[in-house]
Symmetry: C2
Subunit: 132 residues, 2 copies
């Protein structure tokens, strides 16, 4: 394996805004998604913002799931960061899309942590990637 982790950065657009503003429902959806993916949940925390919006994360044995919602835009930023090759992140994503009535999705997949050391790179390399 060339990389230590696999990170899906998911933009969920045109979601059900009521669901995006319901902390309890989002906790259930993310917990179920973790289970469906085959990952092992360890610790989780969610926060309800006023007047609207929820942030939540679940630390899993294989890294994390997180979500930040903007109900006023019908938008949520979802991250599914896993290591190993036994986690079905796509199945988890399909489930979340279905549960939040998502109409438009973009996924950016980033490989995290080059496993081959030493690295032939400069001290600091930056790249900008726009997600549309």
């Amino acid at each position: 394996m060339d990389y230590l982790g696999n990170h899906l950065l998911v933009e969920l657009y045109e979601c059900n805004s009521s669901k995006l503003n319901d902390q309890n429902q989002l906790e259930r959806v993310l917990e179920d998604a973790v289970r469906i993916s085959g990952a092992t949940p360890l610790k989780s925390s969610f926060h309800q913002f006023a007047p609207q919006g929820v942030s939540g994360f679940i630390i899993i044995a294989e890294s994390h799931f997180s979500i930040h919602t903007w109900p006023e835009f019908g938008y949520a930023a979802l991250d599914i960061f896993t290591c190993g090759d036994s986690i079905d992140n796509k199945k988890a994503l399909d489930f979340i899309e279905s549960e939040l009535d998502v109409k438009t999705v973009t996924v950016t997949e980033i490989k995290r942590g080059n496993a081959h050391f030493p690295l032939k790179i400069n001290k600091k390399v930056s790249a900008q990637v726009g997600v549309f």
Copy 2:
């Protein structure tokens, strides 16, 4: 503002492995980094793995900081996800690099959540980006 969030995906290579395996120290470093960035911490959770490795997460009012460490590789995956334009994520990153004796860093900056709706995109768009 064209985007709702700004996400730095940071690969920290050739770190001090002892520090990467010290949950208490990592909690302090991330909490201090949040403070230095000007962000508002809300909830945090850290987990020590056996035989090695730590995962940690801080929900901030402006999204999150997270870290996953692989001491055996001297590597940590750091995420600094912020919204608004008042958070100094680069200052936080410089501090973390210094505290963990990091020798090699790569940064990928992803804009999260296009603020202009409706979007002229297909149902599902995927992209792969390797971080070296």
